[in-house]
């Protein structure tokens, strides 16, 4: 493990920001720390950087315990949420700052700065001041400034939060490409699951100061191990009594479940040729246009589910009676989740075959 946190605890006043946090990160990986606001993700990042001290527990970087090593000696590059570029220095001086502190000679500094300016594609703008740059350009400069002293680990705090939606998309892929090109182990914090899933090699999900789950985006999505992750990832609908749905039987100790939009099919009356007996009746409660599809809210037996429907299909109206086929759902208890398939569909299948 390149970066390792062992049983980290941190409390601010009476707020538990880190609660027995444990995880390890392999060298060269790009990790997304994902969680709702106040879940302790930024605190973890700041403790790795040395900007905060844990109350207890050990932090290792490259096998060395760094708890007592000051932030400036940890070999960590940090990109701040609002970039914190030095307002009274131009792009060149911003990127050169860390190198000048290391007392590198002039030529070395100049070569490294221009190498980075070329890398981030801002040639010719080296004498602009931060207020003369766009949000995306500022982020690139912040990235270059963090990389200039050749850190072993790059930490990014909500790197896309201050950028408008259109540029954000572009920057995500840019950053992913840059990091893989430089080959530096990186951790970024985000509250946006699309961002984490798209950019990160691995995701660590935090909630109330605890690490809920760590794994590849696909694993997190397909095999959520805790109820929180099951509800947090995807546009999940919570089902308070899944046994009332056709085809789902009570699992010992598990009362609630979540359903992902892709687990549900919504069909106009008469559209469903198969599995009709496995489907529920529902009433469309709301429809929202989501660009490439429709997001449909449907009421089934007093519970509200969210599903999607292709624009290609015949349109449906609010208040219309529809068939709702639930393929599967995640049932959960206090600590674990279980994927359940619709039994009624299996039975039907065997009969047809």
């Amino acid at each position: 493990m390149y970066v390792e946190l062992k049983d980290i605890n941190k409390t601010f006043h009476n707020y538990k920001a880190s609660d027995h946090v444990n995880f390890g990160i392999e060298q060269g990986k790009l990790i997304g720390l994902l969680g709702p606001s106040g879940s302790g993700k930024t605190t973890i990042l700041r403790m790795i950087a040395g900007l905060e001290q844990p109350d207890s527990g050990d932090i290792f970087i490259n096998g060395n315990r760094v708890n007592d090593i000051p932030a400036s000696k940890r070999g960590v590059g940090f990109v701040f949420q609002n970039y914190a570029l030095f307002r009274y220095m131009d792009v060149f001086d911003n990127i050169a700052f860390g190198l000048e502190i290391q007392k590198k000679n002039k030529k070395e500094i100049k070569d490294r700065v221009f190498e980075l300016i070329k890398l981030i594609g801002l040639e010719g703008l080296e004498h602009r001041y931060p207020n003369q740059l766009s949000g995306g350009q500022r982020q690139r400069v912040a990235f270059a400034r963090a990389l200039a002293p050749k850190p072993q680990l790059l930490l990014l705090d909500e790197p896309f939060a201050a950028i408008d939606a259109k540029v954000r998309q572009e920057l995500r892929s840019w950053l992913k490409e840059m990091i893989s090109r430089v080959g530096i182990t990186s951790i970024f914090v985000t509250h946006d699951q699309d961002e984490a899933i798209e950019v990160a090699d691995e995701i660590i999900i935090t909630n109330q100061g605890r690490v809920e789950q760590m794994g590849s985006p696909v694993d997190i999505y397909k095999k959520p191990t805790t109820p929180f992750v099951a509800q947090f990832i995807g546009q999940s609908s919570l089902v308070n009594d899944y046994t009332s749905l056709i085809g789902f039987e009570q699992v010992e100790g598990m009362h609630q479940a979540v359903i992902r939009p892709e687990f549900i099919r919504i069909a106009k009356q008469g559209e469903l040729k198969q599995y009709l007996s496995a489907a529920e009746e529902g009433i469309v409660a709301g429809i929202a246009f989501r660009g490439d599809n429709l997001e449909v809210k449907v009421q089934v037996k007093g519970q509200s589910f969210t599903a999607t429907r292709s624009l290609e299909k015949e349109s449906i109206q609010v208040g219309e009676k529809v068939n709702v086929l639930v393929y599967r759902l995640y049932a959960f208890d206090d600590s674990k989740t279980l994927l359940l398939d619709n039994k009624a569909m299996e039975d039907r299948n065997s009969v047809y075959i």
Binding site: A49, G50, L51, A71, S72, K73, V76, F78, F80, N82, A84, L85, F86, R87, Y88, M89, F97, G98, I101, Q102, Y129, N131, R145, P149
Partner: protein, 280 residues
Amino acid sequence: MNIEQESVNLKKGTKVTKVVLIGVSLVFVLIMLVIPMLVLIVYALKDGGTKYIEAITDPYTIKALRLTIVATVTAVAINTFFGLFAAWAVSKFHFRGKQLLLTIIDIPFAVSPVIAGLIFILTFGRIGWAHDFLNAHNIKVVFAVPGVIIATIFVTFPFISREIIPVLNAQGRDEEEAAALMGASGFHIFRKITLPHMKWALLYGIVLCSARAMGEFGAVSVLSGHLRGKTNTLPLHVEIIYNEFKLSAAFAVSSILVVLAVIILILRNIVEYKAKKGGR
């Protein structure tokens, strides 16, 4: 038709308001500032140019001017030093008694300068608790130059820190944190990042502080003892010759203070203009 008329009326209304507002301000400035200034110049030159030059080249006047400048420069230097540290402490760290410190910094704004002078008489004077110690070390504060300087410092105490604190507060700590993370020392961070931020506010504070220090009368008057040629500053000197019924001489000396004030005002405007231009 009706609506058009109404909008015309409204415009007329605003026009009247405009004239009245500008008129009132002008008249007020004229009565309170311009006429007194003109009177001062007229009186200063009433007995002719030679008398004027005689008055302002009088040895006592020159000594008073010298003391005023010494007191001002010392007070500004010490207050800048203190102001920087106080502003730095208050805006960058959270600590107990921060609000108390802020309030204490403001006291000179609220206390009458005469009372400030008396406080120092009670502290350093014959009946003061520090008197024996000062006497034993042969240091004279009251009715001596150090007293004049102390009084000036007290009165101009808040100007610089008050100008810098809001600027530092608005800036936040991110840039400093970023610099510290890259291994910059505290002094390096201060010089390269914090100082450029508050440069204009600091200069503005220094200008205001100088203006106030030069004109200080009350506190200095109590502590100086009015020893002509020794502890008299320009404002005190003006009062003395005025009380001796040398009216035109008094006004001539006053005109030195006016010229200094005008220079400071011009400096202030330059600083304000640059700050606006530089405050990206």
